[in-house]
């Protein structure tokens, strides 16, 4: 092995390249930008201002931060539903006035006063909400007008009552605590806002209302079509924003007791800058509370520090405006290019060396030598089937197969010309097996493991397994359940081809050559699913052996077949049965003479084998060549092999030229015939097996003959 190849081997074994793409595909990746800016801000002011990080300064900032964050959370909620609320500053000022009037002047107890203030804020928000949500006015203009109207009202109120309420004083301890108190050194407003933020985060990410809200912001029309009450959701966001302004103002009123005209002036710009800087998209549908919190921290630090550094207030606004402009620019560019960066970095090939390619030439003494045995095989359902990946027979000899449209199709015996949809599941039904009670188990690509009872009722058995400890992407959901078989005790062993790609992308997994797939065991006793064999190279066909203690599984990109003991004295052990196939193995099934059939869905080519040893080459190819032009395994020719339990290849069936069956993904022996399926084929082939037992069925082989 050349030195460069040894280097490649260890380099790709030790560095988990795929992590980068998985991190980039996380939703929280947007938060990285504000986090980075925050670090810059801390470094800058930390070094420029001597007492920047002192406890007293932080406590002051934290108190103001708490008040701001209430409003920022409200703004976030509005913006995530696709709106904008410019009236927050005015509502804040109004509520501040109301707090002072009710709590300071009228000396209402806080338990009545604070809800009343919140209600006032909510009422103004409701006006916004009705105008924008129900009457369909523009959010920007409506809230701008509301800003002016409410501000004017506050000014008029101040003109008449500023002196009166200025005289008020509420001596309650709680009111003082809101103003100055700390809990373990943390300002009261900050503690309160953390509670609100956690609640808001839970609502947005875990509750129905939050999901509706994000759906509305992401695509209003789609949300409407999906049955979400768009108008009500939009209206509610403004009410929430108004109420949070009210809550914020009570802390402000308690702290400063100030009824001046300058309260809340320009607050909307500050808050807007904060949330946009945090990464709440102006377009709606994207954002989180964490982002809003980060953005607000940055703005508070910048604003506060600039004042303390002695900048004139005009200059401070200038800086703020520039930051807003920058934040909007970053938001737009990031949204535009995020998917591009992800697309470039997601496919992450690794080093994989296959043993030398076995000979397949005609006339060679290789067991895989080409022949023409499958030429002219009979076609079933020609033109009516689309993608029968696997097929199986019930006790009445009727055939079942999947289709690309998500149907399980029944083709009636004895002539197999009458076709009906047996059940519609969705996804792409792939591997199939019958259990002892004639329930049809189906692996459905894109959905999971399903069961169809003889009366055609469909039951979902499993769509998730245990999440693996070290995976970055959440791999608990099943993406591509592929083939299955059922052990004598009823446990279902099924393969999930890859956890990194969806059904329609499964072949891209070949370019990675990493063990991205797994075998999962579903136990019908308690309905649980556990991963039993992780990190396999596209595990595909599964076949429980005749003795019922072990199974054979095919790893498509690994070009090998392995035995796994799930019971008996060797439980848990594995041994390789065929190590070096000339093609990519797919489904494995029992043969009537105690051996096994395996379909090879594609054949190895020397160039692709070489590319598998050069991961850097494949990565660059993915990055610079368009998708349709990528080098793939050759899936245009397939064959069928027969092998015994020791891995001796006994027979090989080829369709030379691949005209009828370019790709064979599955085979099933039934009463002397071999049936051929293909995931991209428009038919099922039927090949008479010479010297096969004409009465053998796989159903009897698994569950015994019907008595």
């Amino acid at each position: 092995m050349a030195a460069s190849e040894t280097w490649a081997k260890w380099r790709y074994r030790l560095v988990p390249d795929h992590a980068l793409g998985e991190i980039l595909s996380k939703n929280w990746i947007d938060t990285l930008i504000p986090a980075f800016i925050l670090v810059l801000v801390l470094i800058f002011f930390g070094t420029q201002m001597p007492n920047f990080l002192s406890a007293a300064n932080l406590n002051d900032i934290g108190r103001i931060y708490g008040e701001y964050l209430f409003i920022a959370i409200g703004m976030t909620i509005v913006m995530m539903a696709g709106g904008i609320d410019l009236s927050v500053g005015s509502i804040f000022a109004l509520c501040n006035f109301v707090s002072l009037a009710l709590i300071n002047y009228l000396e209402l107890p806080l338990i009545l006063g604070i809800p009343a203030v919140i209600a006032v804020g909510g009422a103004v928000g409701l006006i916004n909400g009705i105008l924008i949500g129900y009457l369909g006015l523009r959010a920007f203009l409506t809230t701008l007008v509301m800003l002016i109207i409410v501000r004017a009202s506050v000014d008029m109120l101040l003109l008449d009552y500023a002196m009166i309420i200025g005289r008020g004083f509420n001596a309650s301890l709680a009111w003082e605590f809101m103003a100055l108190g700390n809990i373990f050194g943390i300002p009261s407003s900050l503690v309160a806002v953390v509670v609100v933020a956690v609640a808001a985060h839970l609502v947005l990410t875990r509750f129905r209302f939050g999901w509706h809200l994000m759906a509305v912001g992401g695509s209003r029309r789609s949300a409407y079509n999906a049955g979400i009450r768009v108008k009500r959701t939009v209206c509610a966001t403004y009410v929430i924003s108004g109420m949070l302004c009210g809550l914020a103002s009570t802390f402000y009123a308690a702290r400063l007791s100030s009824a001046s005209a300058g309260v809340g002036l320009g607050l909307e710009v500050t808050i807007l800058t904060a949330v946009v800087l945090g990464g709440i998209s102006l377009g709606g549908g994207r954002g989180s509370i964490v982002k809003a919190a980060l953005g607000t921290v940055i703005i508070i630090l910048v604003q506060n520090s600039l004042i303390r550094m002695g900048l004139m207030s005009g200059a401070s606004s200038l800086v703020l405006g520039s930051v807003l402009l920058l934040a909007v620019a970053i938001d737009v560019r990031w949204m535009k290019n995020r998917s591009k960066i992800l697309a470039r970095s997601y496919v992450s090939p690794t080093y994989f060396k296959l043993p030398p390619l076995p000979e397949t030439a005609i006339g060679s003494d290789s067991p895989y030598a080409l022949n023409d045995k499958l030429r002219g095989v009979e076609a079933i359902g020609l033109g009516e089937l689309d993608g029968p990946e696997d097929m199986i027979f019930d006790r009445e000899d009727n055939m079942y197969c999947g289709s690309r449209h998500g149907d399980v199709i029944r083709i009636f015996a004895p002539d197999y010309t009458r076709i009906e949809v047996f059940a519609h599941i969705g996804g792409h039904p792939l591997g199939m097996a019958f259990d002892a009670r004639d329930n049809l188990h189906v692996c459905v690509g894109g959905m999971g493991l399903f069961m169809i009872a003889p009366d055609q009722t469909v039951t979902k058995l499993s769509d998730e397994t245990n999440r693996s400890w070290l995976s970055i992407a959440d791999d608990s959901r099943l993406r591509l359940a592929d083939d299955l078989d059922i052990a004598p005790d009823g446990r279902v062993f099924f393969s999930e081809a890859t956890v990194r790609y969806e059904m329609y992308d499964w072949m891209v997994d070949a370019l990675e050559a990493r063990g991205n797939g797994r075998i999962i065991c579903y136990d019908p006793k308690d309905g649980s699913s556990r991963t039993v064999l992780p990190n396999l190279q596209l595990p595909n066909g599964i076949c429980v052996e005749f003795e019922g203690q072990s199974l054979l599984y095919a790893e498509t990109w690994g070009c090998r077949i392995t035995r796994y003991w799930f019971d008996g004295p060797r439980k848990g052990q594995r041994d390789v049965v065929i190590a070096n196939l000339p093609g990519y193995p797919d489904n494995i099934n029992r043969a009537s003479d105690g051996t096994y059939w395996c379909a090879l869905c594609g054949m190895r080519s020397p160039v692709f084998d070489l590319a598998q040893r050069m991961p850097g080459f494949r990565r660059r190819m993915v990055q610079s060549v368009s998708r349709d032009d990528w080098l793939y395994p050759n899936m245009n020719t397939g064959c069928v092999i027969k092998f015994d339990k020791d891995g001796n290849v006994l027979d090989v069936l080829w369709d030379l030229g691949g005209e009828a069956h370019p790709m064979i993904t599955s085979i099933r022996e039934h009463k002397g015939y071999l049936y051929l399926g293909g995931i991209y084929n428009n038919r099922i082939g039927r090949y008479p097996i010479p010297d096969a037992d004409p009465n053998w069925t796989s159903h009897d082989s698994y569950w015994g003959e019907l008595t």
Binding site: S605, F608, N634
Partner: protein
């Protein structure tokens, strides 16, 4: 210095020389199935060149030169016939792989061209008479024989040359060097026309020695060029450019190992024949779905004949696409009022319709 930074920048941006994009077949090159539908005249093993000599239409196939009328052998040689040219007076020049050029018939019958050139040309892939006494020769590569053209392409060869031999005087002159596989020669009103395959272009060398590039950035690798009646040219394009191959051409490490470890028939490289074995690499878009290969699938082989006007602008084209078999057209010639094309990959000599393939705009 600037060129260095330009190259680095190109590599980062995938622009300029580092671009793996290929021009689309549009305008006059809009695809059709005319080559696939053309009338087959003669089924033979890898026909390469067609020419008319002494009133008889000849074509080369393997080690032989055969007559089109009966398909029988006229001349046989020890190595592959890589080029043919007919003189006006019944002379026939035959290029042989690794074995120079033979002259048969005519005033200079049997002359030893190796002596005139001072060497034996290893890769004479195109010959052209200018009158009775001048013979132009295109030597595809210094390093490889005509059958090893894939090696030359994948090692990014640019050692081809064009020679002028004065048969009467017995002297030879090298007109051009450092060409990337000059594959076709034509005689225009104002000088010599050369197709340069690996650079996908047609060159025009005027009589005063200046070289112009009237046609460039073709979507395939041009082969031979021949004059059309009524002015203009017929250009045979023997293989398509393919983004994957363009990418591999920019991957020296991969190419080196591919050349070293893999049989050339199974390379990821342009090919004359449509793929018949799974040992050849497959691109994603070329997968068979429901028994069908898309005609626009990415392909390593293609059949294309382009009609150029006097200014070398494409005006019409005839195609055999990814789902066809008549690929690898290495020469096209208008003789006796019929347009004949040799599909080296499809093992056929075809008669094309002359006035077809014009795209109405």
């Amino acid at each position: 210095m600037i060129a260095f930074f330009q190259r680095k920048l190109d590599k980062i941006r995938g622009s300029g020389d580092a671009a793996v994009t290929v021009p689309s077949m549009d305008g006059a090159l809009r695809p059709n199935q005319l080559v696939e539908e053309a009338e087959p005249i003669c089924r033979t093993e890898q026909p390469d060149m067609i020419c008319e000599c002494g009133g008889e239409i000849l074509f080369s196939t393997g080690n032989q030169v055969c007559a089109l009328s009966d398909g029988r052998e006229r001349y046989a040689f020890d190595t592959t016939v890589s080029a043919l040219a007919a003189g006006s007076d019944g002379a026939l020049a035959v290029g042989l792989a690794n074995d120079g050029i033979r002259l048969i018939g005519g005033p200079h019958d049997g002359k030893d061209l190796a002596a005139m050139l001072g060497r034996t040309l290893n890769c004479p892939v195109a010959l052209l008479f200018d009158g009775a006494d001048t013979l132009f020769v295109a030597n595809g590569s210094e390093n490889f024989s005509p059958n090893d053209w894939k090696h030359d392409l994948m090692s990014r060869g640019q050692t081809g040359s064009v020679w002028r031999i004065d048969l009467a005087a017995g002297s030879a002159e090298r007109l051009m060097g450092d060409l990337a596989w000059p594959f076709g020669l034509g005689l225009g009103a104002d000088g010599l026309v050369i197709t340069e395959s690996w650079r996908h272009r047609v060159l025009h060398r005027t009589r005063d020695g200046g070289v112009k590039t009237p046609l460039w950035d073709l979507p395939g690798y041009p082969a031979r060029i021949s004059p059309a009646s009524g002015g203009g040219w017929w250009l045979a394009v023997f293989a398509p450019r393919n983004p994957l191959i363009e990418f591999i051409l920019r991957e020296p490490g991969f190419r080196e190992r591919m050349i070293e470890e893999i049989d050339p028939d199974y390379w990821a490289a342009p090919s004359l024949e449509a793929s018949t074995t799974f040992l050849q690499p497959l691109q994603g878009g070329a997968q068979v779905h429901l028994g069908v290969v898309k005609p626009w699938a990415p392909s390593q082989s293609y059949g294309l004949v382009i009609r150029l006007d006097e200014m070398f602008r494409p005006v019409a084209s005839q195609h055999s696409r990814a789902d066809g078999k008549r690929h690898g057209i290495t020469s096209v010639a208008e003789v006796d009022g019929q347009l004949l094309a040799a599909s080296k990959g499809g093992n056929l000599v075809l008669r094309l319709m002359q006035d077809r393939g014009v795209v109405q705009t």
